[in-house]
């Protein structure tokens, strides 16, 4: 095996460990009210932290990213579908980049 393949497989195993450990070890429901509440909020917290402020740097230009973000926020507020929100944000960013 060459070195690249070894590194790739190592990455694969290391990526899999945090994914599989809790799911296999934690069977059945947790009893603690705190933990259950905590886990209820995790998806929103993770998504929020992943999106902001990284989104500002996602297009290579903060200005166009801000416009795309605003378009996404407004459409999401009106509860448009995932695809609508994503495609509209892309188009907004693209138009901004053409203008700049």
């Amino acid at each position: 095996m060459n070195k690249t393949l070894i590194a790739v497989l190592l990455m694969a195993v290391i990526t899999y460990i945090p994914r599989v450990t809790p799911m296999v070890l934690v069977r059945g429901k947790l009893k603690s009210r705190f933990l259950r509440s905590f886990l209820y909020y995790v998806p929103y917290a993770v998504l929020g932290a992943m999106t902001f402020p990284t989104i500002l740097y996602s297009t290579g230009h903060v200005g166009s990213a801000v416009v795309g973000m605003i378009v996404a926020l407004v459409l999401a507020l009106f509860e448009r579908s995932l695809v609508t929100v994503a495609v509209s944000a892309i188009v907004a960013v693209y138009l901004m980049q053409c203008l700049i």
Binding site: M11, I14, P18, M23, V24, V42, P53, T54, M69
Partner: protein, 255 residues
């Protein structure tokens, strides 16, 4: 979106009592996975370009996508491989970036259909990504093996195919289109959070705290030296802990 009904229905989120067949679950999951797959293709394409421009063959790049199935982790790991970094550094970096999966996996473990076997859990765990987690965790009711299989399959192949094509053809899309597509996944995340945050103050508060902490880890002196993987994990833990302390939820009666 259907799963958002969870927030308005208070705390009585009970596993659906209607029996669902495995193939129904699979098809439902498949449908939910298609927008994720669409979001993956441009990112995977970019990954393919990056890997190929660093001298990694299209086949190897595809193997990376098929075995890792993660964006940030494999981007960073592949950069290190290209730079000729030692295995230990590759291992540590990959782990730190992917540490957030611990939280996601723990969170999903609470939503699995009871009695899901160990081997099924192990297979489902492989399919946890930021996006599949986002969709699965906000699903109303429990998560079955068939559902997860359906949800993950098109993103998985989209991810691999996008990588291969990206690595093969260097740049076909004009750069302006490529960079515009960078916002797609984040726009999708916004579409997932905002409607829930609109309905539930605790969710809004928790999300805002997570965003503030995440901004601190991006911009504040010293804190910004900490890797992005840790920053997101710490932000999410802090915000969820505050949320759980200030707005504890009523026990869900689903046992």
């Amino acid at each position: 979106m259907a799963f958002l009904a969870q927030d308005t229905s208070g705390d009585k989120v009970i596993t659906k009592t209607t029996p669902r067949s495995a193939s129904m679950d699979f098809r439902y999951g498949l449908r939910k996975g298609i927008p994720i797959a669409l979001g993956y293709v441009p990112v995977a394409f970019t990954f393919g370009l990056l890997a190929a421009s660093g001298g990694i063959s299209p086949w190897m790049a595809t193997v990376i996508s098929l075995t890792n199935l993660t964006s940030a982790g494999q981007f960073a790991g592949t950069n290190l491989i290209i730079a000729g970094a030692p295995l230990l550094e590759i291992a540590v970096t990959t782990f730190v970036i992917n540490i957030r999966y611990l939280l996601m996996s723990l969170s999903l473990s609470q939503k699995l259909t009871s009695g899901t076997s160990l081997i099924k859990r192990a297979i489902m765990a492989f399919g946890i990504t930021d996006e599949t987690f986002a969709v699965a965790s906000l699903e109303q009711g429990d998560i079955s093996f068939s559902y997860m299989l359906g949800l993950v399959s098109s993103p998985y192949w989209g991810w691999a195919a996008g990588t291969f094509v990206g690595a093969l053809i260097c740049s076909v899309l004009p750069p302006a289109v490529q960079s515009s597509m960078g916002i797609a996944l984040y726009a999708m995340f916004i579409a997932l959070i905002v409607p829930s945050a609109k309905r539930s103050k605790p969710v809004l508060a928790t999300t805002v705290i997570a965003v503030v902490v995440s901004c601190l880890f991006t911009w504040a002196p010293h804190l910004r030296d900490i890797s992005a993987g840790w920053g997101i994990t710490i932000a999410a833990i802090t915000a969820s802990a505050v949320g759980a302390l200030v707005f504890p939820r009523e026990e869900v009666q689903d046992e």
